[in-house]
């Protein structure tokens, strides 16, 4: 290898690396890397380490329970959150079966349960969890958010690399390069959104926001036809049965929605149907239902720009309110059930 071509190649590589690094740093000033969010792995790890009294499982809204967890911790109640981003009931069931159950059922050499304190489970839901999206394992959230390396390898051995299991690698790749806004931005476009915002007048931004709210409102009305999937419903029922069988008190929370996106039409259709089904489930199974879809003190400004997730400040507001109202029962200790008779 010639010395000059080697230095030329190194020069090209150095030039490229410098520009990419400089662009990344500059773009971070414009669009900071989003704060790292709690994922299934974090929740499972916390569960493993803490042996919780209360375990919260559900969609990304589960993260809103962070301030609730912190407030309860001061009162000696240990709560663990396991949020499944972009999940529906079948995803939560998969996480329960494959990630939580082994911890719940783990026994020591003498046959005693390793973790025995769990007395309550909260399933955080919205109407969305009953929708047909992602049924049959055809959703990317499980490989991306919930799989372990061995789940990935087992699937590759069975099916080869597919668009489905490739999500595992893509998420790991993004996590490995979590310092780069360019990598984190891929597929989310928040850099371009920030850039666009800077170039738009306040009036345009307001108009776009209203259009977004209108879009979300009509989407929720239009979801009616699809949000009644029997397979998703069955997944929730199986979770309730399993937890009930382990003498864990189950609460299904119907999580708050941004007030502006709820219309009379969706109240009478999508939301009604979901609430009715949950109420029917409560008649058939021993569950507690907390329907706070509406009626909390959360206002539009307490939600993030995606019109779905509550902001960090909103979460604190939600915690303060809910622990005084519908979730106040969490402050009352529930005796740890005797699990001596549980099947092995």
């Amino acid at each position: 290898m010639g010395g000059s071509s080697k230095s030329s190649l190194l020069g090209v590589i150095a030039g490229a690396v410098l520009v990419v690094a400089a662009a990344d740093v500059a773009l971070q000033q414009l669009a900071p890397i989003p704060a790292r969010i709690i994922e299934v792995d974090d929740g499972v790890r916390a569960y493993e380490e803490s042996d919780p009294d209360v375990f919260v499982l559900g969609s990304s809204h589960t993260r809103s329970f962070g301030p609730v967890r912190d407030a309860l911790a001061k009162e000696g109640v240990v709560m663990t959150l396991v949020p499944v981003e972009w999940g529906t009931f079948h995803s939560y069931e998969w996480v329960l079966d494959h990630r939580i159950k082994p911890l719940l059922e783990e026994r020591d050499a003498g046959g005693a349960l390793g973790r025995s304190r769990l007395s309550r489970a909260i399933l955080v839901t919205t109407f969305f969890d009953m929708c047909s999206f992602g049924q049959g394992g055809d959703s990317s959230n499980l490989p991306a958010r919930a799989w372990t390396g061995s789940d990935f390898l087992a699937d590759v051995v069975r099916n080869g690399l597919t668009d489905f299991n490739r999500n595992y690698l893509q998420t790991r790749y993004a996590r490995a390069l979590s310092f780069s806004v360019l990598v984190q931005n891929h597929g989310h476009d928040f850099i371009l959104d920030r850039l666009s915002d800077r170039m738009r007048s306040p009036e345009t931004v307001r108009r776009l926001r209203e259009a977004g709210i209108e879009g979300a409102r009509s989407a929720m009305e239009a979801e009616y036809a699809t949000c009644n999937d029997a397979r998703e419903q069955a997944a929730l029922e199986r979770m309730v049965d399993y937890l009930g069988g382990r003498q864990v008190e189950v609460t299904v929370v119907l999580f708050p929605l941004m007030p502006s996106i709820v219309s009379d039409t969706s109240r009478a259709t999508t939301l009604r149907r979901y609430a009715d089904w949950i109420a029917d489930l409560a008649r058939r199974k021993p569950i507690r239902v907390v329907d706070i879809t509406e009626g909390t003190p959360l206002v539009d400004d307490d939600f993030q720009r995606d019109r779905d997730h509550v902001s960090p400040e909103g979460n604190k507001k939600f915690a303060a309110w809910s622990l005084e109202h519908d979730l106040a029962y969490l402050r009352e200790a529930r005796p740890t059930p005797s699990r001596a008779a549980l099947p092995r």
Binding site: M1, G2, S5, K6, S7, S8, L9, L10, G11, V12, I13, A14, G15, A16, V17, L18, V19, V20, A23, D24, V156, V157, N159, G160, L161, D163, R166, L169, Q170, Y173, L182, V183, N185, H186, G187, D189, I191, L192, D193
Partner: protein, 489 residues
């Protein structure tokens, strides 16, 4: 595993480093590449790996059998026949069973003999059309003594399974690859630099141009043609021509680049086909390795030697392009596409003969042919013909093809383009067009000079330009850019 997927980013650096750390012996290098190739193939479908193994063994043994019985034409023919029957039988079984059974069933049904034939649900082994043609050419070359049979099973298996070109070509001939695999490879900085450059060019074509055009224009308009105007149909069709080109030539360039990074030179598969001014020229520039194969192993035997049949050149064109259509897939749309090109080449050849007659009578016709006006018309006709021929190629059925063709000419009051989402900014469409124009201009003499000036710039500055491209790609490349159109063939 796809060249443009994140998994290749994990797989190839490992293969690259380990490969060059091995002792510089062909057997070590081949064994490692073979193992990597089988892992690469298994990553698509582990169950299909035995198909590749058996196919490799059959042709390895068939070629040795032929070479061992040079004194006996009958035994040589037997060896060749075994290979042909096995390879074509395998291709028919996996690729055409459903098609032929379905068609035969329909035919029997139409004459009242409707006993349904079994249509098996068979998983198509990836790249079967590519590696089958590669193996066929090897055995035929050995039969005609154009090639010595490969004695080493390791070298031969590496030749068949070489992962850069296993899934979607280029289709490599034994004479091109076996000698390279028989010698130890040594790293060369220039080769690696050029390999990396070719790979990145292909990557850009695939993950940016092909994906943007597919998602922004082609897929939505082909899916809901009725919603779009005639202009929209034309945009989708031209967009599809560019998409297929960038997708497939991008794959070929990534394969060539990957091969070069491992010290192996693979043949060129595309040579600026959109600059062609005749159909014959077009097919010398588009999917070069397949067309060379078809002309050498089908057209050649059909047209050499004495014959009473005066139209055999035309018939051979038809046979070649019908075979090309069927090679692409077991659908009537591909057959029609092949037939259209067969007819196009016959007309083109007849026109050439006629024009040559004019030239012989009057030399001024020679100058006319070289005029800019003639060249422009020839270019426009060639490209329009190719673009229009893609209607059946893209359509799922002849009915869909007819509906799309109608949409090109019948105004329906629909919109020109699909409403773009935030992620697919229309500016990207403009960038794709700009890329294609610049890419082709760089092939012209003035463009080549410009490229030379760029190459003479300080390395740091050139690197900065590449860095900007990387930043741009990170901002604008669509997320789903893993699959290749030609991998399905």
């Amino acid at each position: 595993m796809s060249f443009s997927g994140v998994e290749f980013l994990l797989f190839f650096p490992f293969v690259f480093v380990a490969y060059w750390l091995l002792p510089r012996r062909a057997s070590w290098q081949n064994a490692f590449v073979l193992l990597a190739s089988w892992i690469f193939y298994a990553s698509w479908s582990p169950r299909m790996l035995p198909v590749l193994w058996v196919a490799t063994a059959v042709d390895y043994l068939a070629a040795l059998y032929i070479a061992r019985h040079r004194e006996s034409p009958r035994k040589m023919r037997l060896g060749l026949a075994v290979s042909l029957v096995y390879n074509l039988g395998q291709l028919c079984f996996f690729k055409y069973e459903g098609f032929f059974a379905g068609e035969l069933d329909a035919l029997l049904g139409s004459v009242g003999l409707g006993a349904p034939l079994p249509v098996l649900k068979i998983l198509l082994p990836l790249g079967i059309s590519f590696f089958t043609f590669q193996k066929l050419s090897y055995v035929i070359d050995v039969y005609y003594e154009r090639l010595e049979p490969c004695r080493s099973p390791l070298t031969f298996a590496t030749f068949i399974a070489f992962f850069p070109q296993l899934i979607a070509g280029p289709i490599v001939r034994g004479g091109e690859l076996l000698p390279q695999l028989s010698e130890p490879r040594a790293p060369s900085l220039d080769t690696m630099r050029s390999g990396a450059g070719v790979f990145l060019l292909g990557y850009f074509k695939k993950v940016y141009v092909a994906e943007i055009l597919g998602q922004l224009v082609v897929d939505p308009i082909f899916a809901r043609g009725g919603d779009f105007s005639a202009g929209g149909h034309w945009l989708a069709l031209i967009g599809y021509a560019v998409q297929v080109y960038c997708d497939f030539s991008g794959y070929s360039e990534m394969a060539i680049g990957t091969g070069r990074l491992l010290g192996i030179e693979l043949p060129k598969n595309f040579d600026y086909p959109f600059l062609s001014k005749s159909l014959m020229e077009f097919w010398r520039r588009w999917h070069i390795t397949l067309n060379t194969w078809l002309f050498e192993y089908i057209y050649g035997p059909l047209t050499t030697g004495e014959s009473w049949f005066r139209g055999r050149l035309d018939a051979a064109f038809m046979v070649v392009f019908l075979a090309s259509g069927l090679w692409h897939g077991a659908r009537w749309t591909f057959v029609v596409w092949g037939a259209v090109h067969g007819v196009g080449l016959v007309v083109s050849r007849r026109w050439d003969e006629y024009y040559r007659g004019l030239c012989r009578k009057d030399r001024s016709w020679v100058a006319r042919r070289k005029s800019r006006a003639y060249q422009a018309v020839a270019w426009a006709l060639t490209q329009t013909f190719f673009v229009l021929s893609l209607i059946p190629f893209r359509a799922a059925s002849l009915h869909d093809a007819a509906a799309f063709a109608r949409g090109l000419f019948v105004p329906n009051g629909g919109s020109l383009l699909p409403a773009s989402t935030a992620r697919m900014r229309p500016a990207n469409f403009g960038m794709c067009v700009l890329f294609m124009v610049v890419y082709h201009l760089l092939e012209l003499p003035s463009g080549k000079r410009l490229w030379e000036r760029f190459s003479a710039m300080p390395p740091l500055l050139r690197g900065a330009v590449y860095g900007l491209v990387i930043v741009y790609l990170h901002l604008f490349v669509p997320v789903s850019s893993g699959s290749f159109i030609y991998a399905q063939f």
